[in-house]
Symmetry: C2
Subunit: 519 residues, 2 copies
Amino acid sequence: MNTLGSFTIQKLTGLSAFRTGMFRLLRSVSGITVAQIDVEVAKLLELKLRLGGDDVKHQFVLKTPKGTRDYNPKQMAIREKVFNTIVSCFKRHGAETIDTPVFELKETLTGKYGEDSKLIYDLKDQGGELLSLRYDLTVPFARYLAMNKISNIKRYHIAKVYRRDNPAMTRGRYREFYQCDFDIAGHYDPMIPDAECLRIVSEILGELDLGDFHIKVNDRRILDGMFAVCGVPDDKFRTICSTVDKLDKMCWEDVKNEMVKEKGLSEEAADMIGQYVSMQGGMDLAVRLLEDPKMSQSKQACAGLSDMKQLFSYLELFQVTDKVVFDLSLARGLDYYTGVIYEAMLGPPGATPPPPSQAGAPKAEESLSVGSVAGGGRYDGLVGMFDPKGRAVPCVGVSIGVERIFSILEQKAEAEKVRTTEVQVLVASAQKNLLEERLRLVTELWNAGIKAESMFKKNPKLLSQLQHCEESGIPLVAILGEQELKNGMVKLRTVATREEVDVSRADLIEEIRKRTSPV
Amino acid sequence: MNTLGSFTIQKLTGLSAFRTGMFRLLRSVSGITVAQIDVEVAKLLELKLRLGGDDVKHQFVLKTPKGTRDYNPKQMAIREKVFNTIVSCFKRHGAETIDTPVFELKETLTGKYGEDSKLIYDLKDQGGELLSLRYDLTVPFARYLAMNKISNIKRYHIAKVYRRDNPAMTRGRYREFYQCDFDIAGHYDPMIPDAECLRIVSEILGELDLGDFHIKVNDRRILDGMFAVCGVPDDKFRTICSTVDKLDKMCWEDVKNEMVKEKGLSEEAADMIGQYVSMQGGMDLAVRLLEDPKMSQSKQACAGLSDMKQLFSYLELFQVTDKVVFDLSLARGLDYYTGVIYEAMLGPPGATPPPPSQAGAPKAEESLSVGSVAGGGRYDGLVGMFDPKGRAVPCVGVSIGVERIFSILEQKAEAEKVRTTEVQVLVASAQKNLLEERLRLVTELWNAGIKAESMFKKNPKLLSQLQHCEESGIPLVAILGEQELKNGMVKLRTVATREEVDVSRADLIEEIRKRTSPV
């Protein structure tokens, strides 16, 4: 209401002008009585009341939609730095990039996300096709491959996706958020592309300087084989798997309880699972499990374990085994994974889940804030769902959780000064009436590719020009004065040190380049 | 239908398995007759027919929504180049960047686009707020300024916007398309930021190498003043203005006809307008019109003309007067412009509109394809529409029509080979069983920041490795063989010249850098 005060006043100001006019009109009519005037006044006051009432209804809200945010220049500077690091890495690994529309035909997304389909944003039916905002970049990628009959590609895609989820924005969970996906599609020898995806995660997280991190790996086939040898009935694989998936947020006791009491698993089977999912290791663990009397009975598990062994041999060549942990408790939710799965977490490996007493809802959410920052796996069946002939294109990929990374880096940068422009030099003047000379010089600098600006005032004070440099981190000021102009010189000031040197106009560009080139 | 053949076959394969099962079941029942079997077969065949019929209905369409497109890697490479050029220019001029959500509250967009509001994409009401996809970047920018009480900023924003328009995709007109906006908000001395916007358009179009171009400028106040002195009634300003706006597609005869016959303007007024709108020039024209006996009667026109004179004096300092034409026929449609307006066109200045006989609909559309590639102007009232206290923040900005630019550059690049990756070197092997050695070397290169890849096959043929380089434009191949490994050497092959040199492993990185650094 408060903000609307002036609106109402404006309307009433208009109204009183109207009233004055009315009075004049009324007076000009002969024989008008004071009573008649009173009647008119009463009518107008009523009108005033009604107008006031309307104002309250039409109060407009100045905000972004729920679960979304604007990025201000400082946030954009951080975002750009993160994207540059990620894209450089993707390019270093030979990736191309594609883009797809923000919305897809509704039927393209149908049947791909199971229960989560309710989180899809639909567009209003305004005549024409039924459309939905994309929910991830993987399904549009699979649609793209099938539509264009592409059977091998190494591509990245950075774009926003949309989920009508309950946002927890302080923790980097939004309804509109970026995904940074890298995927390798094609028929190749096993585990080579899978290993490269892990190398990429490792490079990116290392370069972003987020502190310690580790990547858990497992395999859908090892999980399924484990469930089989532990005596989980076939039709309970998926639901038991989704309970195991909670081990990063819940302690084993609670997970076991859910399996036995809610999902009707035998206690014996649950205990057996409990033994396996506590195992972590590297190639050695794969080797050991291949000889495990129970595990070795499952063909699926053996296939997964042999591939895991192979994977670790490649990871060793890629120099990332110190970051990767084979962890039998990792069970990513998505149905479409068919082989290797992985998830990167901040913190050192082996960080234990919070003890049962602290595992309530709010704590669980908090643990998310330092949790997963990348994830992915192999999905060999998805493209075939789109191909009219069901042709399969094997794929493996990784998605970097950049929103969470932005949150972390924003928090870190809160106290810091982050530059939001790249201006190298401000063209300033020490006296009045030098606007034209400033514009002439700034044009010279632009022509030479120097990032430069000059204030949009005819006669700005030197102090306010210098303050502008301090505030926006511009390192150099080229100061023009009558004297300098006469001598064909410019005073070049280094903002940080306040040191000033006279530079001839001919040498200025070279001098600016020298002083602002990255060390 | 054709593409569905295999689906039907798959379903029928499933069906025949079902039939076989049924037969077994039937046989196991004692006393079954051949007649009964025939009845069952008939039923099943009927079922088969019905299933086939259903298939036709459930045919799913593998396409992107109407008016949208995927960008393939080649298109993305062109897009990236264009964006880099544009962003470098924006940064050279000291701009920050922001981002806003792809959708806004519906009411934020309401009442901003007049008739075109029907082209806004609404989201389905799924409970919660009513949302619409953004229609441009200017209204979200104004909302952002008002919401954050920002009174001065120089910002750029590159993002997709959405219009349910009739797409003409061959001419770069889509329903989902990019806008690249640069705007300067704040109270400054007149025409300095306006001139910088024109300098920016000129830099960008020059650097994109699109051939000749020119920028038309005019001023909303000059237009309004001109209409007033020509005797256009106040309430016809907007509609006559929108007819004048068609002069780039229609000849003067047709424009005059529309004014007089459709919009009821006097022939005398129309002829007078006709004289003015044929005028083109530079600062001289502004000076002449300030002394024009009719024009000088309009205060508004004089204010606009004095500013135009001032603008050209700054444009001269910015060295772009050869690209800018003061053209009284320029009348951009948008209601929110309050001062200077401009539009950049490809081709030399003074390119005349097609003669009347050729001015039919298809020709008019064609002329669009070489038409406007940037446009903008001053809008001093828009932010005030969002500010609860109606505080005005004067703004001037420009929008680069990148989709049209993409189309032009794509056409140019059709015959050319455009690299879609940046790989500098392929690590290859000349003999079998060298996968591990290749992975070891490629890791060394990644560690050094070299963009490198190696094929995902255990034993790829040397020829297919070299072919991969030819196809994707990789300039160098590092070839490993038993002999090289023994001697600690690598054979470095330049793909273009087929020249090969032996390089010691220690010198390899330096050698690759030397050969791939930009000249």
